[in-house]
């Protein structure tokens, strides 16, 4: 059984290495989000009207409470909500994406899609998310 398991583990290694080579330039291998793409609550607040806050949490969380003026943009309703963001976006604006906490994933994913799919620049992920904003409220 152990020998079989080792053979399977080795078989899976081949496509994994191939894929990792293919993705090599597109992946940050040392940190999940480069420091240059993170922003703290204080920094984002200092941007004032130049910042567009984007709430990447589910609709129910956004409806309950959100950063004042924040626009909802989550992956569940991406195609529906993206046009709303684009109407207020301009090249000089900085986009600050947040989700519920430090450990959530949605803000990073929404930020990635804004860069890769919507081709927007100046997209930042809020360090600590909604919880960090609440602490600094």
């Amino acid at each position: 059984m152990l020998r079989q398991a080792l053979i399977i583990a080795a078989l899976a290694l081949a496509p994994a290495i191939g894929q990792a080579i293919y993705f090599h330039d597109r992946v940050s291998w040392h940190s999940p989000v480069p420091a240059s793409e993170m922003v703290t609550v204080d920094q984002a607040r200092a941007w004032g009207a130049n910042a567009i806050w984007i709430d990447a949490r589910p609709d129910a969380d956004y409806a309950r409470e959100h950063v004042p003026g924040a626009i909802s943009l989550n992956e569940d309703r991406w195609n529906e909500l993206l046009p709303g963001l684009l109407t207020v976006w301009s090249p000089d604006k900085k986009l600050v994406v947040y989700c519920s906490s430090q450990s959530c994933n949605a803000s990073r994913e929404v930020a990635r899609r804004l860069r890769d799919e919507a081709q927007l620049k100046n997209v930042f992920v809020l360090d600590g998310g909604w919880e960090a904003w609440l602490r600094k409220k």
Partner: protein, 151 residues
């Protein structure tokens, strides 16, 4: 003529086991394929558990989906069958342990088990699905290791 009815039961149970093999194998191939399609998203999901450093999480994110796919194929074709079962059982136990640990630490996790579909799964649903996958795997391995003696 009289021996025919006694053969029906073992054949039926073999068919049932094959169906379970196909189902569980298919689930892991599906889950692996979704994650292999977007390894970066899966890397974030692994990182969310805050158990491993990012450098390890991102490498696992490239490897685990393919491991699931190869194990799923092993179950379906009964090729390296025991090895595939034992790896999937180990993975399921790790997923269950990591999910419980994340919940205990109050983390807002996305399990990433089935890509975007599983993004908003609650903790009980995570656990229920992990267990629903683990139980048939454990049963298949037990039956494989300790088959009923033929009468």
């Amino acid at each position: 003529m009289t021996s025919a009815p006694s053969n029906i039961k073992p054949q039926t149970s073999n068919v049932a086991l094959r169906i379970v093999d196909l189902f569980v194998g298919g689930v892991f191939i599906y889950a692996g394929a979704i994650k292999a399609h977007d390894p970066l998203r899966f890397a974030y999901d692994v990182d969310n558990y805050k158990i491993l450093p990012w450098a390890v999480s991102v490498r696992l994110a490239f490897y685990l989906p393919w491991l699931e796919i190869v194990c799923g194929i092993a179950l379906i074709f009964r090729f390296l069958y025991r090895g595939g079962l034992s790896i999937l059982i180990a993975l399921s136990l790790i997923f269950i342990g990591a999910t419980v640990a994340a919940k205990a630490r109050g983390l807002d996790i996305t399990c990433g088990c089935f890509g975007h579909v599983s993004q908003h799964w609650s903790f009980p649903l995570h656990l229920a699905i992990d267990l629903a996958i683990f139980v048939p795997l454990a049963a298949l391995l037990l039956i494989e290791l300790f088959p009923k003696p033929a009468r």
